[in-house]
């Protein structure tokens, strides 16, 4: 069933919100720029709106509708309790600028979550306000740069980033005024420690490393890496996107890390919502703790206190967003954390790693595993198994859609050819994995047996089949226009 755009559904004069007719008033107080005429938005009634968005939603795939093994995205189940408590009026209906004595419970949410994040990582400080992972990276780098400046080492402007890193890493470094220097990987998918050491020098501000890395592997030499980085006077930033693999099994502080953002929406199960919102609190080592940006919560004489400006001893590097952080996400993440508890979080990372290794072990004969196991929370394959079949990684992914699955991550990380990166997460059952394994094996066999045509034609069962991305980019149509426009 096709669904029109709202602009095509409107019927001037319909209304989905009954507002009283405003009393007559003059525009005297409105200044000298009143709008002339009605804003050109369509008018719809409530039944039309509800049906429109219901139908649109039916064209989407979500964790709720099926297995979503999208590597590096940690698509785990989103608890319903989190959605419920986030809607308690005493938490949802609070203004960030209310007098602090009227929001002590909200500050307690922030403070309690901060406590958990610090305890789980072993780090002494956390910047709560970053809005997302990339924002948290930037926050961590800002703290690092502030620390260097504070020590009179403002000349350190080179950041080392492995080739396999998420694109946000170099981009965040650039936004901090840093230059990016790539470091290569070894055959076994880990950082080349020797190459790293060779790159270290007095102009290096920090190393940015993802751990577990984007190949789904734990950086075995991480302690040595940290020592080398620190030895060169640089800091060690860790991209925490894959924290879900090790929560409760490894303390970040024990690895020698100075800063790491935590994607609450990945590791702590808050909904991705088709692109966000997320939250990226950044834990910091003692060396960086003083630079936490405002605002932050402290225990004061009359209860919890939100520090919004300068304060003795602190050297905040500034402010990173409008208010006090992604509070709605905090509530959900804390509800998840308290539901799971220390034992549950450890079990979750254990199960996430178990599930990934189960996929790796079950598929390694049919697909080409890029590295030997054990992997951490995700299993990486490349396209060697498709050699000479005419089927590409993209084709293979699209064929999975017709089988009822969201595809794995394709073509990332860039360090292997035609990557297929699968992250099952701990919230999938063995039954689901077994069905998935059977389907993937079946597709691999089909590809090898010459079924390329079918792959090229996939997906067939979706509301739209393959979409022309080149056309979209070549002549961008980025908004609705009337025929006249």
């Amino acid at each position: 069933i096709e669904e029109k755009l709202i602009f095509e559904l409107g019927n001037p004069g319909s209304v989905a919100v009954d507002l009283p007719e405003p009393a007559p008033f003059d525009l005297e107080r409105l200044g000298d720029a009143p709008r002339r005429g009605r804003v050109a938005l369509p008018d719809l009634s409530e039944p039309q709106v509800v049906r429109h968005y219901t139908r649109l939603s039916q064209k989407n795939y979500g964790i709720d509708t099926g297995f979503y093994p999208l590597g590096s995205c940690t698509m785990k189940h989103n608890p319903r309790l989190s959605e419920k408590v986030a809607r308690l009026p005493g938490l949802a209906d609070l203004h960030p600028l209310q007098p602090q004595k009227t929001v002590q419970g909200a500050l307690e949410v922030i403070d309690t979550l901060a406590h958990w994040l610090k305890a789980l990582t072993g780090m002494p400080a956390v910047a709560m306000s970053p809005a997302a992972g990339a924002h948290g990276e930037w926050c961590g780098l800002m703290a690092i740069r502030s620390a260097h400046e504070d020590k009179g080492e403002g000349h350190r402007k080179r950041v080392l980033v492995p080739e396999s890193a998420h694109g946000t890493n170099p981009a965040s470094a650039a936004m901090c005024g840093y230059t990016v220097d790539p470091i290569p990987a070894l055959e076994n998918g880990r950082v080349d420690l020797a190459a790293l050491k060779a790159k270290l020098g007095p102009d290096v501000a920090c190393l940015m490393l993802t751990n577990p890395n984007t190949c789904g592997l734990f950086e075995t030499e991480i302690v040595e890496i940290a020592a080398a980085v620190h030895g060169a006077g640089a800091y060690f930033y860790c991209d925490g996107a894959n924290f879900n693999a090790i929560v409760g099994r490894v303390k970040i502080a024990d690895l020698g890390i100075d800063a790491m953002h935590i994607n609450l929406h990945k590791t702590f199960a808050t909904p991705h919502g088709g692109g966000g919102p997320g939250a990226g609190p950044t834990v910091l080592s003692a060396a960086l703790a003083a630079f936490v940006p405002v605002p932050y919560v402290v225990h004061g004489a009359s209860g919890l206190e939100l520090v919004e400006g300068k304060r003795d001893g602190a050297k905040p590097f500034g402010r990173v967003k409008g208010f006090h952080g992604q509070f709605g996400v905090f509530v959900r993440a804390l509800a998840y954390i308290q539901s799971m508890g220390s034992d549950g979080l450890r079990q979750a990372s254990s199960d996430a790693v178990l599930n990934a290794n189960y996929l790796l072990a079950s598929l390694k004969d049919e697909l080409s595993a890029s590295f030997d196991g054990p992997c951490m929370h995700e299993a990486l394959f490349d396209d060697r198994f498709l050699k000479d079949t005419g089927v590409t990684t993209l084709d293979f992914a699209k064929a999975m859609i017709d089988e009822g699955y969201h595809p794995m991550t394709m073509y990332f990380p860039l360090v292997v050819h035609g990557a297929l990166l699968m992250e099952p997460t701990e919230t999938e059952s063995k039954d689901t994995l077994d069905q998935f394994i059977a389907v993937v094996k079946g597709l691999a066999a089909k590809a090898k047996a010459g079924g390329v045509e079918d792959f090229k034609a996939a997906p067939r069962l979706t509301p739209r089949r393959r979409l022309d991305e080149t056309l979209a980019a070549r002549s961008p149509v980025l908004r609705w226009k009337t025929a006249a426009e």
């Binding site: 209304v15 989905a16 919100v17 008033f25 200044g31 720029a33 002339r36 938005l41 008018d43 409530e46 509800v50 429109h52 039916q58 989407n60 709720d64 009026p89 005493g90 609070l94 203004h95 600028l97 007098p99 004595k101 009227t102 809005a131 997302a132 998420h166 170099p170 650039a174 936004m175 901090c176 592997l217 734990f218 490894v250 303390k251 088709g274 692109g275 919004e308 500034g318 402010r319 409008g322 509070f327 308290q338 539901s339 508890g341 220390s342 034992d343 189960y358 079950s362 054990p374 859609i401 969201h406 919230t427 059952s429 997906p459 739209r464 056309l471 979209a472 961008p476 980025l478 609705w480």
Partner: protein, 449 residues
């Protein structure tokens, strides 16, 4: 542990397939010195009932906006959100989807975002809008950076009418770069003059309309000034419902428009997550940060939508990207878009009228408070008031909170080092305020002043 489907029997069977003796084996790449032997000394897992009780207890320590006459704005506004918005938002297909990288199974999110982009472009009067940023403050900073990139200049002038948190965020964003921010002093009367400030080094001027203290300005003269100097005009709108009654920034000559979208669809949420709206002219689209959805066709020729122009983005361009942004505010954009769709053009205008009417009504009633004067000449649904030379607005707000009245924000919360702002209080009124609310505020002010 209700979120974990594996049973002990499953785990055993899976380990057998893997050929590992225990899960600990799978963690053998972790240096032994860094392994934790067991759970950390933190509380154990809890049932829903216990967790819900804990949150209910924390919620009970707060005075929620709905339980008080409420006049706080200053960047976050309380509006009535239709019940349908949240119920649609909770649909798992929206809620639990990822970024729509696989367009064939994401047409819902993609079409919604295309509609959102169209709505944002329409209300701001611009050509094109992106699929959202974190919030108004970060969007504002990104706009300044984009203006520098376009003009190849490094100086950003920030009006004193810009929300101080936005100005701080912007300053922080430029802190370690070649760019620099010139933030003008707070401007409670809306009398700020830019003439002479804009020069050939100016990348852009950033203004907020209505201003932080309430003033509504005709931006056309400023736009002309900027363009003459080869600079861009960035307009921040902290309260987008105002666009139903005030000329759009696009129509007044803005080059980039950023808004905080929280006003529609989302409620207060203690200020986060927010929703950054970001719109610009067609010619600047390839310099824009953030995700974009574009229209295209599938192999059968049917209209559909995809993420597009991603060569601007970090996952392709890495350190050369227009921004590091990846996660956006998709779900907030959905809430905003549903609410705006429900309002329609007719309702959007009417809502703005009701808001302005509420504020003018509040001004009328405040005349009964001796010594109080409204500062800006013009306003939409919010204005700063001066409570009298000896008054301490923070103390007033504090005293009224004890009476269960949430009476705006003292300017000193943002500008602690500006003594002349100590008596200044910023008050907002929206369609949610009743006559009774206003009477209680006025009576409260009369009592404590």
């Amino acid at each position: 542990m209700r979120y974990l489907p594996l049973t002990e029997a499953d785990r055993r069977a899976m380990l057998d397939v893997i050929g590992a003796k225990s899960v600990d084996d799978l963690f053998r790449d972790v240096p032994p010195s860094a392994r934790l032997a067991g759970p950390l000394p933190l509380p154990s897992h809890q049932g829903e009932m216990e967790v819900e009780r804990a949150f209910t207890r924390m919620a009970g320590k707060n005075l929620s906006a709905g339980c008080a006459p409420f006049f706080i704005g200053a960047g976050v506004y309380r509006h009535h959100v239709p019940a349908a918005v949240d119920q649609l938002l909770l649909r798992g297909e929206f809620l639990t989807a990822y970024t729509p990288y696989q367009p064939e199974v994401s047409q819902g999110t993609l079409q919604m975002l295309f509609e959102f982009q169209s709505q944002v472009a329409t209300i701001t009067g611009m050509d094109v809008a992106n699929a959202s940023m974190y919030d108004g403050a970060t969007a504002c900073a990104e706009a300044a950076i984009m203006a520098c990139r376009i003009t190849k200049r490094n100086r950003v002038i920030v009006s004193g009418g810009v929300h101080p948190h936005y100005a701080e965020t912007l300053e922080t964003s430029l802190r370690f770069t070649e760019m620099e921010a010139d933030v003008l002093p707070p401007d409670p009367l809306g009398m700020e003059d830019m003439i002479g400030r804009v020069d050939s080094k100016t990348a852009c001027v950033v203004v907020q309309n209505p201003g932080f203290f309430g003033t509504v300005r005709d931006l056309r003269p400023l736009a002309a000034l900027c363009h003459e100097a080869g600079a861009l005009l960035v307009v921040m709108v902290a309260e987008p419902t105002s666009l139903g009654l005030i000329e759009s920034p696009g129509a007044m000559g803005a080059d980039i428009v950023v808004c905080e979208g929280q006003s529609l669809g989302m409620g207060l949420n203690f200020g986060g997550p927010g929703l950054g709206l970001f719109a610009t002219r067609d010619k600047y689209v390839r310099q824009m940060p953030g995700r974009l959805v574009g229209q295209t066709a599938d192999v059968d020729g049917r209209r559909g939508w995809v993420l597009t122009l991603s060569t601007r983005e970090q996952h392709i361009r890495r350190e050369k990207a227009t921004s590091n942004i990846c996660t956006n505010s998709g779900l907030c954009a959905l809430a905003f878009s549903i609410h705006l769709t429900m309002l329609g053009g007719t309702g959007f205008g009417r809502l703005a009228e009701l808001n302005h009417l509420a504020a003018t009504r509040l001004e009328q009633k405040l005349r009964a408070v001796k010594g109080l004067r409204v500062l800006p000449q013009s306003y939409y649904n919010e204005f700063a008031v001066h409570l009298g030379d000896d008054a301490d607005a923070a103390a007033v707000v504090d005293a009224l909170a004890d009476k269960g009245i949430l009476a705006g924000v003292p300017a000193s919360r943002f500008y602690p080092t500006w003594p002349e702002l100590k008596p200044v209080l910023i008050l907002a009124a929206t369609e949610t305020n009743t006559e009774d609310d206003m009477d209680r505020l006025v009576a409260g002010l009369q009592e404590v002043l």
